[in-house]
């Protein structure tokens, strides 16, 4: 596996070396004899689908999980990393994909509490400004975390690591919530960190950015290393094929479809912020026609979840005509009434919002089907019908589940996402509103989901996709708009947008440009 490594890397002792790392969870072998070496100053990509064993491997390295076999060498010396505290003492920093923050504490407190050594909140506040400026990671030190968007929370995690001057920085999907400009800014930061000698282990699904950033990539599949290669010398398609184990197809484009009738109309929708730090929606104007996909781009925390709640009816407007579905004004009608008009909704959070983690899949179908005739009659539940429905969603959308009728939490993120999207599509909705359809989902599942959305539009449904993933929107959307500070840009056909134009809208600098 050392073949193909540049001279600079092989000449020195690796900063960290994993030898034959295995981890067994009951029947499942999550990691199977993994070898991996990272040199100082190297940006190393760790690639693989969900369930390939990336998270387990990283948790072992960070001292969260104890390996069943194998050893870790740190600067050539065997070490046992028994806890994250120990990992940090060695010089490891980790930015998790799922944030480990205290909701009730402020940004500065969250950072201070996680740092070992002599860090007071005041000292953190002072340093925070410097680091924020240097790396373009804007943060208000005194905001409580629960009021922040996913993107802002991730920034805390990144800054928290950078404050400790780590020797090895592990980043799990760091750009999923950044604009192209911000991502580019982050890459510059990472390049600079690497030039200063900090090694970076970069976990991502986005092959283009891995090819932009990394000198080496280790690809995992089914808990084993399938390849270690230089991503700059391979095509994204080739790498994706190694990850998935078969060729990844492109999403088949739907036919062009304009003027098939308006399904969703949002007219001057204005809503005050829900919480102390929520985003207000300002005068949103939007239409979605039958047979088309409309995309809403934007950086996390710019009003996406507020817009979703206003469209779904989880938050009501004071004007009925603010939202109309198939010509019926329903701005003041609840989510159930909007579902009866033929709308389907998929929120951003899979567990806890779209699905109840401890409930079985059959019960989870009831969440959006309970007013339908199929599973409920005069207040009674048809359990058999719900089970049949769950089975047809599972088979129709390639949801890979444990045997029988498992609890929602037993499914991997990608599979649960396929389930909650399938749960709406199977109803053949006239309107589908999806918030972040492929957030944290592996390449295979993401492709299947996008294809399902394209197919749904082709069958004549109106689809609204709110997404932070620009590649996704450029791939599937017919028309696009950008949301920034609760304000929506005009809708334009996707072919009229450039990445730069979208990026400027995302930063709210359209007028200045």
């Amino acid at each position: 596996m050392v073949a193909g490594v540049s001279d600079r890397v092989s000449a020195s002792v690796p900063l960290v070396q994993l030898r034959g790392i295995s981890k067994r969870y009951g029947e499942l072998l999550a990691n199977d004899g993994i070898d991996l070496a990272i040199a100082p100053g190297e940006i190393h990509a760790l690639l693989g689908e969900n369930g390939a064993g990336k998270s387990t491997l990283v948790k072992i390295l960070y001292g969260v999980v104890e390996p069943s076999a194998g050893e870790i060498l740190w600067q050539g010396r065997p070490v046992t990393i028994a806890s994250p505290v120990q990992a940090r003492a060695l010089g490891l920093g980790m930015v998790f994909q799922h944030f480990s923050l205290f909701d009730k504490l402020t940004v500065a407190e969250n950072i201070a509490v996680a740092l070992s050594g002599d860090w007071s909140v005041a000292k953190v506040r002072a340093k925070l400004a410097d680091v924020s400026r240097a790396y373009g990671l804007a943060l208000e030190p005194d905001r409580a975390v629960w009021t922040l968007s996913a993107g802002e929370r991730q920034r805390i995690e990144i800054v928290r690591c950078l404050l400790q001057n780590p020797k090895l920085l592990i980043l799990d999907e760091p750009t999923s919530v950044l604009t192209p400009q911000e991502a580019e800014h982050l890459f510059t930061t990472l390049d600079r960190l690497a030039a200063e000698g900090c090694a970076i282990l970069y976990i991502s699904h986005k092959l283009e950015e891995v090819r932009r950033l990394c000198q080496r990539a280790t690809i995992l599949r089914g808990g084993r290393v399938v390849a270690t290669l230089d991503p700059r010398q391979r095509s994204a398609r080739e790498i994706a094929a190694l990850m998935v184990g078969n060729e990844v197809g492109e999403v088949r484009a739907g036919a062009s479809h304009e003027g098939r009738g308006e399904v969703l109309r949002v007219a001057n929708l204005t809503l005050p912020p829900a919480g102390l730090h929520g985003t207000a929606l300002k005068d949103i104007v939007l239409t979605v026609n039958a047979g088309e996909i409309v995309g809403i781009a934007g950086v996390a925390g710019n009003g996406q979840s507020e817009l979703f709640a206003a469209l779904s009816g989880e938050r009501l407007s004071d004007r009925a005509d603010a939202v109309s579905i198939v010509g019926t004004a329903c701005g003041t009608a609840d989510i159930d009434a909007r579902r009866r008009l033929g709308a389907g909704f998929v929120p951003e959070e899979r567990l806890g919002h779209a699905a109840a983690p401890s409930h079985r899949l059959s019960e989870n179908t009831l969440i959006s089907h309970h007013s339908g005739k199929e599973v409920g009659r005069i207040g009674f539940i048809a359990l058999d019908a719900a089970k049949r429905l769950a089975r047809s969603i599972v088979s129709g959308f390639d949801v890979r589940t444990p045997e029988g009728d498992p609890q929602a939490r037993k499914l991997s993120g990608g599979n649960l996402q396929k389930f909650v999207i399938g749960r709406e599509i199977i109803k053949k909705p006239r309107l589908l509103v999806v918030d972040q359809p492929t957030w944290g989902v592996d390449a295979g599942a993401a492709r299947l989901i996008r294809q399902a959305l394209v197919d749904l539009a082709e069958q004549g449904s109106a689809v609204l996709v709110i997404s932070q993933d620009l590649d996704e929107l450029f791939e599937i959307a017919d028309r696009m708009a950008v949301i920034h500070h609760g304000h929506l840009s005009p809708l334009r056909p996707t072919r009229d947008w450039t990445r730069e134009a979208v990026g400027l809208e995302m930063l709210g600098t359209r007028d200045a440009a």
């Binding site: 065997p78 046992t80 699905a355 409930h359 009831l366 969440i367 959006s368 309970h370 007013s371």
Partner: protein, 358 residues
């Protein structure tokens, strides 16, 4: 060194069934040990606590009489607890039910009113309990006041109201100044299930409530709504279930059933209103609800078991001079063991040693 609970990959259905049995045996063993420490024979105590009540027809009837209010209240509480709402004030709703229903019994005293009195009393009992429970529910939905505090505090208001009524306006004028009302007429007395039995119709109410709840929780959309609200409140809102109406509904149901228990106890068992009508049924029912794991059949079994410890405790006090508080302690131990067994079936206990850096 620390302890960790690791979820088990596969839980054998046999273990789920056996766990409560093991929990019972453990609780009995611990209780036996305590009794041995007190210098009594654990075997004799077992006989007095368990064997005797179960072999004596009179004690068996007494068991059902005691289990009736416990089961009725606990089944109502299970609605609240499933939806993650904490009605701690069933004792007060029990008392309010007795006051509302008892009022009609006193108002129709010696008027020769007919058969309608009893159903009307039951309805008033349900109404009284439900209204009393709706106060904390309303305060919660309207102002966001914590329902645990308000429901608990209203217990004392209800108890003192009953105290005032039985010492003041509702006192029996011919009662030698005892703080109690007149004895209810026959038309206001809940009849026994069988002629000559001490078990009154309230037990039938409890059985009906249990059967209806089993259907509601397992088969209806309302039952699903409760579970979803309890397990994933955001998903419940996404499903279109308003948390406000869920809160009001479960408090009304649990209050209504506690009120029914209250009027049944007064009308079927005590026969008059007096300052104290409950040895804390409303609080013990919380234990019963969780001992039965909020499952309707489980609650029936738990109510019988807890009633057994109460009756056994009374005889143990007389025959073995054991303190009555021992029963309460045993109820606590039983609950701890059952919940602990439940947790250990789902999770494995792991002792993690502090690893040393090489």
């Amino acid at each position: 060194m620390r302890l960790e609970l690791v979820p088990r990959q596969n839980v054998a259905p046999v273990m789920r069934a056996v766990a409560p049995v093991i929990a019972f045996l453990t609780a009995f063993a611990v209780a036996g040990f305590v009794i041995w420490l007190l210098g009594r024979s654990p075997l004799a105590a077992f006989q007095v606590y368990v064997t005797q009540p179960l072999s004596d027809p009179w004690a068996l009837q007494e068991l059902l009489v005691k289990a009736t209010p416990l089961a009725l209240i606990a089944i109502g509480l299970s609605y609240c607890f499933r939806a993650n709402l904490w009605n701690i004030g069933a004792e007060g709703q029990f008392v309010m039910g007795a006051i509302f229903g008892g009022w009609l019994a006193l108002a129709t005293h010696n008027t020769g009113a007919g058969f309608w009195v009893l159903p009307a009393m039951m309805a008033l009992g349900i109404l009284g309990g439900a209204l009393w429970a709706l106060i904390p529910a309303f305060l919660k939905t309207r102002f966001g006041v914590n329902e645990i505090l308000t429901s608990l505090m209203l217990v004392y208001v209800a108890q003192l109201t009953l105290d005032y009524l039985t010492r003041g306006p509702w006192r029996d004028p011919k009662g030698f100044n005892f703080p109690q009302s007149v004895t209810f007429d026959l038309s206001a007395t809940l009849p026994p299930i069988l002629e000559g039995s001490r078990v009154h119709l309230g037990f039938a109410f409890a059985l009906i409530a249990i059967l209806v709840t089993a259907v509601v929780v397992g088969r209806t959309l309302f039952g699903y709504r409760l579970r979803l609200t309890g397990d994933a409140p955001r998903a419940a809102r996404f499903a279109g279930f308003s948390s406000r109406s869920t809160t009001l509904a479960v408090f009304a149901i649990s209050g209504g059933l506690a009120g029914l228990a209250g009027i049944s106890e007064v009308s079927g068992q005590i026969g008059q209103l007096q300052p104290s009508i409950s040895p804390g049924y409303g609080f013990t029912a919380i234990t019963v609800a969780f001992l039965g794991r909020l499952n309707p059949i489980g609650i029936l079994v738990a109510a019988l078991v807890v009633a057994l410890t109460v009756i056994g405790g009374e005889s143990a006090q007389i025959l073995l001079k054991l303190p009555l508080d021992l029963s309460t302690a045993f109820q606590g131990m039983l609950l701890l063991c059952v919940l602990g067994a439940d947790a250990l079936v789902t999770y494995r206990l792991r002792i993690v040693g502090r690893a040393v850096t090489a």
